[in-house]
Amino acid sequence: MSLSFKSLGFLLPLIVFVAIAGFLLKGLWLDPREIPSPLIDKPAPDFRLESLENPGRQIDRKDMLGKVWLLNAWASWCVACREEHPVLVEFARSATIPIVGLNYKDTRVDGMRWLAQFGNPYVTSLYDEAGRVGIDFGVYAVPETFLIDKQGVVRFKQIGPVTPELLHEKILPLIQRLNA
């Protein structure tokens, strides 16, 4: 036993090297922009904002309780949002759950023009001109999307555009589970 251990001992540095190289290799494929949100499985932060399209109307967190819903942070100045938008429009057409927009650091005029131009998948958009609600949600790069359950708990967060694959493989099954 000790003999076999000793005779293989010379391999030890190699094994250690391979292990370290393995970690570093894995590191190459990690996306540093994907920061795990501390909000997952925590109650969504409180918010109270005017609707983008209807300045007089206030929407707050309680309005959305009892529903599974998506909160999608977007802005007219955001390039990746353009890429994502058709996916959301398509989803909204068949969706069983409401998508609420969070119009992040935008102007009303630009936001409304954008929705008129590309279609409006949102039941409403919250107008977060100062980006304060964005900060509370930990938004640091639009688009970001949160899936929130009936109790108002954040269940999933996507940083960057929602893709059809992500919708079908992750978000839809999760919605089904949360609605069950």
């Binding site: 540093p32 650091k105 100062a130 980006g131 900060i135 930990g138």
Partner: protein
């Protein structure tokens, strides 16, 4: 927002000298009368709080926090719109009398430990903190064991039984052969 400001600043540089002087004079006059909206002021000046000491405190705290938008800069260094907003947030929280720790907790609750340049000691950061020391320790232990073993081997062969005649001849032969080979190459 950030870009548009940078844009206007860029245009400013291209103005003819006389116009630049005029613009500067106008800006100075406006600043002197206090009529100038803050957004037009120079960028650094724009967000400086009223109290320089409070501002230093805020910047010192911000220099320990990571900007999420441009991840290799601190909140103090970065001019990304989010960093500007978060500096304002920190300024307000400090003005409300919150401690540095409370401000950090506020940001961690929103963005996670990632915002901290000094990661907290937790179960999942144990190896981050102690990994290098553990590797060093393992190396020292390995060195110690190896030396100890070598010493023990030397000790065990201490009585050093003389090589037999045949063995010493063979050793001699091998050594000679080696030097011959060496000289050949």
């Amino acid at each position: 927002m950030d870009d548009s400001m940078r844009g206007t600043r860029g245009h400013g540089v291209r103005l003819p000298k006389a116009m630049r002087a005029l613009a500067a004079a106008l800006l100075l006059a406006a600043a002197a009368t206090g009529a100038m909206p803050t957004a037009v002021a120079a960028r650094e000046a724009q967000e400086v709080g009223a109290d320089p000491a409070a501002e230093r405190h805020m910047m010192q705290l911000a220099s320990e926090l990571r900007c999420l938008q441009c991840q290799n800069q601190t909140l103090a260094d970065s001019n990304a719109p989010l960093a500007v907003d978060l500096r304002q947030e920190i300024r307000e929280l400090l003005a409300k009398g919150q401690t540095d720790e409370q401000v950090k907790a506020y940001l961690v609750a929103r963005y996670g430990d990632f915002v901290l340049y000094r990661p907290p000691l937790k179960s999942n950061t144990f190896f981050l903190w102690f990994g290098p020391a553990l590797v060093l320790l393992a190396g020292l232990v390995a060195l110690y064991v190896t030396l100890k073993r070598r010493l023990a081997r030397l000790d065990s062969t201490q009585p050093n039984p003389e090589l037999s005649q045949a063995e010493s001849q063979r050793a001699q032969h091998l050594l000679e052969k080696e030097t011959e080979e060496g000289s050949l190459s």
